[in-house]
């Protein structure tokens, strides 16, 4: 067993290093990922150790990065692409949606597109415009893509390993505000399946479902609620496409109440899909409507306002109270 305490950023770095070491076809490519080690230093030291041919500083053109990654994948490579910030992915959105997502199906399965797109996402870092967004629903809506987001260092390491090994394109959303959160990573463990949720806190009164940066917020909310005598279960969904509805259903059949939390805008967000499906799956177990906590239908605000825009502990607890107020 080889366990060490790593930040999420270091765990991703270690995971990329493992992939580069074990599979000569793995490439890391993106803007500033080489000498600089990425703007968040996530790829720090990789180019030095694996060379410019495998850790590739690209021209500043996101569509070009993803488009050439597709070509490299067609040649047999497994590119791991970095998009520098969430709000910068849109020049590549066309290549991702019209090409990357559909090519395997168009070829009737005869070609595979093992491309991973890493995107640091989410707010609460006091950044300027376009640096704090949560566009995961825009990718989950597209058939052919898989979308995941780790919440802790061990998942960051293993989920990236699994994403790179996947023969499908995977959008890997990194919770940038949690990059420096530290936790135990066992790099010799046998990981569970990539697209399965995990119960990170057991409870009986209500289920909180979240992923990425909001898992920690939900755990804090559950701890605060416990002091008031409320028992909240917290699910780390980990995967946004596919979503592990079975695990959510199982939890909701126990608690009868569900609040979904994400930074992304509530409108057409992943919480909407979860609410609809869980209502259909366990209508008679629900004691309250499924509630959602997330961003507003407004452009991501200037950073001095982001604390009001983002779901925090108090907004989560407010929704918890509203859900618990429904009494049959």
């Amino acid at each position: 067993m080889s366990t060490e305490k790593l930040t999420i950023a270091k765990a991703i770095n270690a995971s990329l290093r493992t992939a580069l070491e074990t599979d000569p076809k793995v490439l890391v490519m993106g803007e500033d990922v080489g000498k600089l080690g990425g703007v968040f230093r996530v790829t720090d030291g990789l180019q030095k150790d694996f060379g410019e041919d495998r850790v590739i500083d690209t021209p500043l053109a996101e569509s070009g990065i993803v488009g050439t990654a597709i070509g490299l994948a067609l040649r047999g490579y497994r590119p791991v692409v970095e998009i520098q910030f969430d709000g910068f992915v849109f020049p590549a959105y066309d290549q991702i949606v019209t090409q990357l997502a559909k090519m395997h199906a168009r070829a009737l399965g005869k070609i595979k597109l093992p491309v991973v797109i890493r995107i640091p996402y989410g707010g609460a870092i006091g950044a300027v415009e376009h640096h704090s967004e949560s566009p995961e629903s825009l990718f989950a809506h597209v058939a052919g893509l898989k979308v995941v987001s780790p919440s802790n260092a061990a998942d960051a390491y293993w989920m990236l390993q699994q994403a790179i090994q996947s023969d499908d394109p995977v959008i890997y959303f990194e919770p940038k505000r949690r990059y420096h959160d530290r936790s135990e990573v066992d790099t010799t463990a046998i990981p569970g399946p990539l697209h399965v949720a995990r119960t990170v806190r057991e409870g009986t009164d209500l289920t909180l479902a979240a992923y990425g940066p909001m898992v920690k917020t939900c755990l804090e909310a559950a701890a605060a609620a416990a002091e008031e005598g409320k028992s909240l279960e917290v699910l780390d969904l980990r995967s946004i496409s596919p979503i592990d509805f079975d695990s959510i259903q199982k939890s909701v059949e126990k608690t009868g109440r569900l609040v979904v939390v994400h930074e992304a805008p509530v409108f057409f967000g992943s919480g909407a899909e979860i609410a609809a499906r869980i209502t259909e799956r366990c209508f008679y177990h629900l004691e309250a409507p499924v509630l959602r906590v997330g961003g507003y239908h407004a452009p991501y605000p200037p950073s001095r306002l982001e604390d009001e825009y983002l779901p925090g502990l108090d907004r989560v607890l407010d929704s918890v109270d509203r859900a618990l107020a429904y009494q049959g």
């Binding site: 070009g64 490299l72 490579y77 090409q99 168009r106 058939a143």
Partner: protein, 380 residues
């Protein structure tokens, strides 16, 4: 001599200078076979083909045109939902397609029927997407011929990435990306030029300037001749008479050889004309004049090679007659194959969305099966 080949009257440079960079603004059209079927020499590009090879190119063009005409007819008869005709561009496609080696890789648009022919893709395979039974469906790796790409210009980046991979592998293959004058305005084409130049990727950008992007003339896409765009990216560009199969073959072969020997990308602008509509849904009478089409009819790629073969005595009546028979047989096979092409199985839409599976697809497939089964029960 026709208007567009006046450049050929410019004083020629010495062969010593031929390899040097072309000066900005120079718009020499590389031509080896005049519209009248006369062989002419060019200081930079030469070709020496046997009579058999010349007849082969002629055959390729005739069969491609016949296949294309049959597909247009099939669309008119309701057998295809749409067809994008290559009429007029046979030389650009056969010349460039025949310049590729088996190990080279081709990234087409949706109009490269002649290139597909050269690569050995069965013409009937191209019709599935136009009939609506699949979105392509052939195995790209079987003939190193990627699926048709409909989004304009996207494939230029795929070709560049593929070429970057070829270079990483240390292989001496080359890659060719097809696109048109309209696509030259796309950001993806510009980004492909940048990536190819920066990484010195072994890719040839083959632009068929057929003068029209649906209804928009090339003047709506560019203020300079398209081949000159290459200069700003730091690689050579050349304009070739796209209706001259010999010149296209010579230029493309030189560009591919250049790429495979590590000299990097090159832009080839094949100056040609879309004789038909953009697709069978288009009506060119709304935006262009018949006179323009007539001007280009005089430069027809097939007639000019036929004139050459006849004048030089390189093909006899028996050759042309047997080719006519072969064309008829091809047309019949295409017609029969399309008409008997089965609709896809209902379950096909759930196949191949993912390589490694997805629980939502499984769930929806099961719902669909149950829904369809409910009709079977009702009819009992």
């Amino acid at each position: 001599m026709t208007v567009d080949s006046t450049a050929a009257r410019k004083p020629r440079r010495s062969s010593k200078r031929a390899g040097a960079k072309k000066a900005a603004g120079e718009s020499e059209l590389v031509q080896l076979l005049t519209p009248e079927g006369e062989r002419v020499e060019h200081p930079d590009y030469s070709i020496d083909l046997s009579p058999e090879e010349l007849r082969g190119l002629y055959r390729d063009m005739v069969l491609t045109r016949r296949f294309d005409a049959e597909a247009t007819t099939l669309q008119r008869q309701g057998e295809l939902g749409l067809w994008a005709s290559l009429l007029g561009q046979e030389a650009a496609q056969i010349g460039s397609g025949r310049a590729t080696r088996d190990d080279d890789y081709v990234f087409p648009t949706y109009r490269e029927h002649g290139v597909a022919w050269c690569r050995g893709v069965d013409p009937t395979n191209l019709l599935g997407m136009f009939r609506g039974v699949n979105h392509g469906g052939w195995d790209p790796n079987e003939n190193n011929f990627h699926l048709y790409t409909i989004v304009i210009g996207s494939q230029a980046l795929h070709a560049t990435g593929y070429a970057m991979g070829v270079a990483k592998d240390g292989a001496d293959s080359a890659v060719i990306a097809y696109f048109g004058d309209g696509a030259s305005s796309q950001g993806d084409v510009a980004e492909a030029f940048t990536f190819a130049a920066v990484y010195n990727a072994p890719v040839v950008f083959f632009c068929q300037n057929n003068q029209w992007a649906i209804s928009e003339p090339t003047e709506r896409q560019t203020r300079v001749p398209l081949y000159q765009r290459a200069q700003g990216y730091g690689f050579p560009g050349v304009r070739v008479d796209g209706n001259d199969v010999l010149a296209v073959l010579a230029v493309t072969k030189a560009a591919l050889d250049r790429a495979r020997t590590g000299e990097g990308p090159m832009l080839v602008e094949a100056f040609t004309y879309r004789m038909g509509a953009h697709t069978t849904s288009d009506d060119p009478t709304r935006y262009r004049r018949d006179e323009e089409r007539e001007l280009w009819e005089a430069k027809d790629p097939i007639l000019r090679l036929r004139a050459h073969l006849e004048k030089q005595g390189l093909a006899d009546e028996a050759f042309f007659a047997s080719l006519e028979t072969e064309s008829d047989a091809l047309a019949k096979r295409v017609r029969d194959t399309v008409r008997s092409m089965p609709d896809p199985d209902h379950m096909a839409m759930f196949e191949h969305t993912y390589a490694d599976g997805h629980t939502l697809v499984d769930e929806e497939r099961a719902q669909f099966v149950a829904y369809q089964a409910s009709f079977a029960e009702e009819s009992k």
